[in-house]
Amino acid sequence: MKRLLVAALAALALAAPAAAATPGVTKTEILLGGTGPLTGAESAYEPVLSGANAYFQYVNANGGVYGRKIVYRYLDDGYDPARTVQLTQQLVEQDGVFAIFNTIGTEHSIAIRDYLNQRKVPELFVGSGATAIGSGQARYPWTMGLLPSFVGEGTIYGRRIATAAPRAKVAVLYEDSVYGRELLAGLRKGLGAHASAIVGTQSYVPTEATVSSQVLALESSGADTLVILALPTQAISAIVTAARVGWSPQEYVSSVSIDPAVMKIAQLNAGPTAGAGAISTAFLHDPTNPTQKNALGVRLYEQIMKRYLPNEDPKAVAHLYGMMAAYAMVDALRHAGRNPTRASLLLAATHLKETNPFLLPGIVISASPQDYYPIGDTYLVRYGNGYWNVLGKPLPTG
């Protein structure tokens, strides 16, 4: 009798409609929430959200996920972590979202993860490669990043310098934030025994739009290599300043600053050789690069941009990043089952193995309960003839 009761309860549990119990999931809809800077100085990241939303619209037009349409409600936090907290609470408590997806910013994600983990709300595919996000799963199992490890990216630059130019004198410009400090730590790690090659470091705070004084100080250090661990605005300022004063170091530029517009702006302001030969890392397709124009992901990207974002700039690679993240989210939702719960979504995300068309060939998304860095590899790229061109094979960032 007891065995019969257990079996009956199990059957009942399986048959129970998740829609009735799971916030944000109805028979026709899955409601996701997110935040990011839609306005203000960091609004260059807006395409990360609109690109993701465009991909969801594309999926919805093709049947959705098990017949449910994805509704992505993303709100403007102005890149202010305090506002991220307020809006995330609103999304969870008032709007009743199923999960938080694609939060932009390391500090912003950290600001909401206590709240979300206490409530067991998935915080998936955060736009950060910080250690605090990627290695925090023991304490924060409901929070998972997406970007390759910042430390890992810095390590790749360090190793490259140590092997390609072991006598280099290295100057470093870095953002005084978790992002910049972790990249710098990785650079030192990658340089290894050559860590003393760093002859100068200068930092900036994110509100500084120009870094000319820092670059001039670095030039005076006698360095022949400049590592720019900066967001796009400051990276452009650094490249332009170096070119204007006739300083031609081997430049390394962190991967968040390789949008095609960065070098275009630098060259408009400092001449056609500014930034030439710079090295960075890339894991995403570049829709502006003619050598990638026939890739499946680029063609899909162009199709979605034309259909759903006809008045936004298709050259802004952040759109493609947003679509890549949304592709992973849709994959996780599908693996979460026909009657998804927050727990089944987390389970799916932590066992995701996919070939994502928006990623460069050879790079896959792979996560496990022990590995919360879904993108574990990246390519070295070099800037030449107007594009970032892939060098060699994928390199691990872990």
Binding site: V262, I265, D313, A318
Partner: protein
């Protein structure tokens, strides 16, 4: 026309402007217009050495028709190139974008500051983008009436916020962006008529103050670029060389491309209104040749300028717009 008339016109044009300041610098700028079939291209160039611009009023010549019934959201044109200088980053930014039909409700409170309570016949938005960041610049289209009708049948009004005031000043331009150059094309909107020039009135700010310098309003005139190209061919049957000669109207100059079928076969320049080229023909099939000539903007005399009551700072430029003209096809039978 009477002094009273021009005074009335000046008052009408100044509807968007605040109290007058004094014109200190010799501000300048050019406006070039090209009309090619259903496409109208307007190129505004404002040097960085001039004071930032508060308002631009472009008058579509009298006699032109306009189709303004497109619903909001319709993309009616493109912005293939534009540049702006950012006081925040101290960088010149390359911009591209689209021209999209909007509405007063969509553009919000910025309309009131620009055009007061006037009701435009259409609202367009110039979406200027770089690296995912977009500057949305509303453009208000009015059918002119009264005194303004002397300048044209329609008026395109753009207001720009001041870029060179301290960061944090209410109403400052996003990123401290000062527009330097913008070329935009609208398709299927204007129907050209006659050869009247396009008049533009450009009103600067007082540098660094963010106050409108109405007395600094200047005129930038544009004569739409147009040209015709003729082409003749003479074949030497012994050498199989065809000599192509042609003319460009007005004795003008430009860049020449000769097409054999649809493929470019030769390039060169036209000067003094004539050109020639020699090409070898093979086989016995009939070959069709065409000549295409393109030319950039050129400057011409602004005389007579608009009265000082309309453009107190005088006429800064008169621009003959860029042009592109293609000859009829000439068939050659070897």
């Amino acid at each position: 026309m009477s002094r009273r008339f021009w005074k009335a016109l000046a008052a009408a044009v100044a509807v968007t402007l605040a109290a007058a300041g004094s014109a200190l610098a010799a501000n300048t700028g050019t406006v070039g217009v090209t009309v090619a079939g259903p496409a109208t291209t307007i190129h505004v160039a404002l040097p960085k050495t001039s004071d930032p611009v508060a308002a631009i009023n472009i008058f579509v010549p009298a006699g032109y028709g306009a189709s303004l019934s497109q619903p909001p959201g319709t993309t009616i044109g493109s912005i293939p190139s534009a540049t702006a200088y950012s006081y925040d980053t101290q960088l010149t930014l390359p911009l591209t974008g689209t021209v999209v039909v909007s509405s007063l409700a969509q553009v919000g409170s910025s309309a009131q500051a620009c055009i007061g309570s006037a009701t435009p016949a259409a609202v367009w938005v110039l979406n200027l983008s770089v690296a995912g960041q977009t500057l949305a610049v509303p453009m208000y289209v009015f059918q002119t009436a009264g005194a303004e009708a002397a300048l044209g049948s329609y008026k395109l009004t753009v207001c720009l916020p001041p870029p060179d005031v301290p960061a944090g000043t209410p109403g400052r331009a996003a990123f401290g962006a000062q527009l330097l150059d913008a070329e935009f094309t609208v398709n299927g909107v204007f129907t050209p008529s006659g050869s009247n020039p396009w008049e533009t009135l450009i009103t600067p700010y007082n540098a660094g103050k963010g106050t409108v310098n109405a007395a600094g309003t200047f005129e930038a005139r544009s004569i739409p670029g147009s040209a015709t190209v003729t082409l003749k061919a003479k074949l030497n049957r012994k050498t199989h060389v065809v000599t192509l000669t042609g003319t460009l109207s007005g004795g003008g100059s430009g860049s020449l491309t000769i097409y054999r079928g649809s493929a470019a076969a030769a390039t060169g320049t036209v000067s003094g209104g004539t050109f020639s080229a020699k090409l070898k023909v093979k086989g016995k099939k009939v070959v069709a040749f065409k000549a295409k000539v393109t030319g950039g903007e050129t400057q011409t005399s602004c005389s007579p300028a608009l009265p000082a009551t309309v453009a107190p700072a005088g006429c800064a430029s008169a621009t003959i717009g860029a042009f592109s003209a293609t000859s009829a096809a000439i068939k050659v039978k070897p």
